[in-house]
């Protein structure tokens, strides 16, 4: 089975290590120890990475907003996330009197776990991965949809109208945006001819954001909606709903919500790196892991840029954008890519050569430019059709100046 191939850092090599030292008949202990160790590593790396990311985000957005950002605690304010977490830990953990306690307590965990689970199957390097799943793409699409339940659970259990409105908006929005997201990933699967993330990376002789730019743009738009960040942050909408579905949360539960929320861009960047930016591939002297991290940082920066500059759309405009805009664009992308793949691929192996990919890139860029121009024509730029201001006849301040 393909998923049993061992890597530099994965569950089976760790299991083998423990099994080697433990006496016979203690397999179960090796299993537990290996599982515990791997989970410990994943959770801590992700939590620390998210902590670093919050610092990065606050510094970058601070610079974009003509201010400094956190700079007091530690060099360049690097210890700020730790201070934040300590502060949240000592805060009182309140539960509203009428809240559904079980659902209320479990919601943050439901939100956090999928983000961590995704990491288990990501190829961080040719030999750095935890699990080699042969249906990785499907796993990602499935597991990232779970956060809808957490949003609804948190909002509903809080017994707060703001939280409820945020949760309802969240469910409508997250479910809608999963469709274009899954469709845009379908293009990747078609070209790679496989659902395994390793094959997807191996197939990217040309990075897929060049091969199918339309799919990439749809994916990024849908992903930023899935993360509920501007311009799609209707779930939280801090100027409208306070904090949206987690209005009533405090203390560590709030910290976990924040952690999951800040982990989302990290996870999204990682997924986008694997699917569209050729994962660990790069030029030789620098190892693949470094390339991976660099690409993740570039995508995170782009996401931050969008977050820092754009205002928010209204909920009905967001839904219209998903179903009338992104959905159509994703379908078109699938159609174009499918036709190209059918014509160009090797009939026996189903593989595409690099020159085939470059040809597809050329065609798809043309298609993308035309589509985006058409969409912009349909959806936007009615702004210059405003009438010329004319003074109202109801009042004339110059008439009385006698």
């Amino acid at each position: 089975m393909e998923s049993l191939q061992a890597g530099f850092l994965d569950f089976h090599s760790v299991y083998g290590f423990f099994d080697f030292f433990l006496p016979d008949g203690m397999d179960w202990l090796a299993f537990v120890l290996a599982g515990g160790l791997v989970s410990f590593i994943v959770i801590n790396v992700m939590v620390m990475g998210t902590g670093l990311y919050t610092w990065f985000e606050r510094r970058v957005i601070g610079r974009m907003q003509a201010r400094l950002g956190p700079n007091r605690w530690g060099p360049f304010g690097l210890l700020q996330p730790i201070a934040d977490v300590l502060k949240l830990m000592v805060k009182e953990d309140t539960v509203p009197a009428l809240a559904d306690r079980l659902v209320f307590n479990i919601a943050p965990v439901i939100l956090l776990v999928p983000a961590l689970l995704v990491i288990a199957i990501i190829p961080f390097g040719d030999d750095t991965f935890l699990g080699r799943l042969n249906i990785g793409v499907l796993f990602i699409i499935g597991i990232t949809s779970v956060n809808t339940i957490a949003v609804l659970a948190g909002g509903w259990a809080s017994r707060n109208k703001y939280a409820m409105i945020g949760a309802m908006r969240g469910v409508a929005m997250l479910v809608s945006y999963e469709v274009p997201m899954a469709l845009s990933i379908t293009g990747v699967v078609l070209i790679a001819n496989s659902l395994s993330l390793f094959d997807v990376v191996a197939a990217q002789g040309v990075p897929f954001w060049l091969v199918q730019p339309l799919g990439f743009l749809v994916f990024m738009a849908a992903a930023s909606a899935e993360m509920s960040r501007t311009p799609f942050d209707q779930i939280e909408a801090e100027s409208e709903l306070g904090a949206g579905y987690h209005t009533e949360y405090s203390g560590m539960k709030f910290a976990i919500f924040q952690l999951a929320e800040f982990m989302a861009p990290l996870v999204t960047s990682i997924i986008a790196t694997v699917l569209f930016f050729s994962g660990t591939r790069g030029w030789d002297p620098i190892p693949g892991q470094i390339w991976f991290v660099l690409k993740v940082f570039v995508i995170m920066f782009a996401l931050l840029w969008v977050r820092a500059t754009w205002p928010r759309l209204r909920i009905d405009q967001i839904m219209a954008f998903a179903w009338k805009g992104l959905f159509a664009m994703a379908l078109l992308n699938i159609f174009v890519v499918a036709v190209e793949v059918m014509l160009l691929q090797d009939p026996n192996t189903g593989a595409l050569t690099t020159s085939d990919l470059w040809l597809m890139a050329a065609i798809n860029w043309g298609v993308t430019v035309v589509t985006i121009a058409f969409m912009a024509k349909v959806f936007g730029s009615k702004q210059w059709e405003r009438p010329v201001p004319t003074p109202s006849p109801l009042a004339n301040m110059y008439a009385e100046a006698d």
Binding site: I61, M64, Q65, A66, R67, K161, Y162, I165, T230, P231, D233, Q234, A237, E238, S239, E240, G242, R307, A308, T309, W310, P311, R312, L313, R314, I315, D316, Q317, G380, S381, K382, Q383, R386, P387, V388, P389, T390, P391, S392, L394, A395, N396, M397, Y398, E400, A401
Partner: protein
């Protein structure tokens, strides 16, 4: 398919809410996301300024006016001292009038910057435009600090003039600001005015027609955005505004975008006014000798100015004593929100926030 049974939800927006710009409470009935009814509840910041004024001398009341519209203290001071001067018949030296106009226009820019920044914040722009607006507002506050040592509650104007002449370092700072500001305004506008999302959100949203605005006696940028060309600086010139050359920008539709745009255009006009004042300001005294305890003759007077929010007027009644018998404030913020319900009904919750934000109220002035 039968309709699903649903019932409206009553939501209390405020008094603690990020977008109520203070302690304002709006009792909104929602049908899903759509506003069915909205009822403002006021008085959370009521401090009884009008009653307090009855126990203070005319000079002391200036400090009370600072705390009404705390984003535009200079305009409040100006409105109040004009009223006292009219009541007691005090003349103001020309240099003081020029300084007053400079201050009032700088305060208008500061207030409009704040309104614009917070409108964009309500739109969900994560404080980026707000920070750019505040960066410029900070420079105006620095200049106020040079004038009188305070930044927000200024108490710079006195019946009969201003507290003190502008110090030497004020004029170079003002010159630099006047030269730089149009460029910075272009920068802020380049972030906002052409943004597709801003236009989608604000265009045709929350329309207030000219007839509605006049019926509700709305003044200020809201009235001008509805297309009514009415500005007290032209309609009833006070101080030295009749000598200055400036335009009154108006909007076309009266929607939220027009209210934003009128404020931006007004800031450009204000810079023109300040430039002319710097050019024309004469030398001379800045205050006529008035006693600390002014005893105006018995009678009443009403004077109003075009504050950043609208027509700000003080009605003072004197019985010949050292403090007014009655002081009434015509607060533009208070009167401008009377049309709130007409503007809100039928729009979505997100629109409610930006329509409310585009009115630009300050709760210190609403509740006084």
């Amino acid at each position: 398919m039968s309709e699903m049974k649903s019932e409206p939800v009553i939501l209390n927006l405020g008094p603690q809410h990020p977008s109520t710009h203070g302690v304002f409470r709006l009792r909104v009935t929602f049908d899903g996301e759509t506003v069915v009814d909205a009822e403002p509840v006021m008085g959370y910041l009521h401090r009884g300024s009008e009653k307090l004024a009855e126990g203070r001398s005319y000079v002391q009341i200036v400090t009370l006016t600072d705390r009404m519209d705390y984003t535009a203290s200079m305009s409040n001071n100006l409105a109040y001292v004009s009223s006292v001067e009219k009541l007691a018949g005090i003349d103001v030296p020309e240099r003081a009038q020029y300084i007053r106009v400079i201050c009032a226009e700088l305060q208008r820019i500061a207030s409009h910057l704040m309104a614009t920044g917070f409108l964009l914040n309500d739109l969900g722009a994560l404080a980026t435009p707000l920070m750019y607006c505040f960066r410029e507002r900070e420079r105006i506050l620095d200049m106020f600090e040079m004038l009188c040592g305070a930044r927000i509650t200024l108490t710079y104007m006195r019946p009969g003039g201003v507290l003190q002449d502008a110090p030497a370092e004020f004029w170079p700072a003002l010159n630099t600001f006047v030269n730089d500001f149009p460029g910075y305004l272009d920068e802020i506008e380049s972030l906002i005015s052409g943004n597709e999302i801003v236009l989608t959100r604000t265009r045709d949203v929350g329309i207030l027609t000219d007839a509605q605005a006049i019926n509700a006696s709305i003044t200020g940028p809201m009235l001008r955005a509805a297309g009514v060309q009415w500005d007290l600086r032209k309609a009833n010139p006070y101080e030295i505004y009749d000598r200055l050359d400036f335009d009154i920008p108006i909007g076309a539709l009266g929607d939220t975008f027009d209210r934003y745009m009128v404020r931006v255009l007004e800031m450009r006009e204000s810079i023109k006014i300040v430039e002319q004042c710097i050019r024309d300001i004469p030398q001379g005294p800045i205050r006529t000798g008035t006693p600390y305890f002014i005893r105006p003759p018995a009678g009443d007077a009403y004077a109003s100015v075009e504050s950043p929010k609208g027509e700000l007027g003080f009605y003072l009644v004197s019985d010949g004593g050292i403090s007014p018998y009655r002081c009434h404030v015509r607060a533009p913020s208070f009167i401008n929100i009377t049309a709130l319900r007409d503007m809100l009904v039928g729009w979505k919750m997100s629109d409610l926030i930006i329509i409310f934000g585009s009115i630009d109220i300050v709760l210190g002035e609403v509740d006084r």
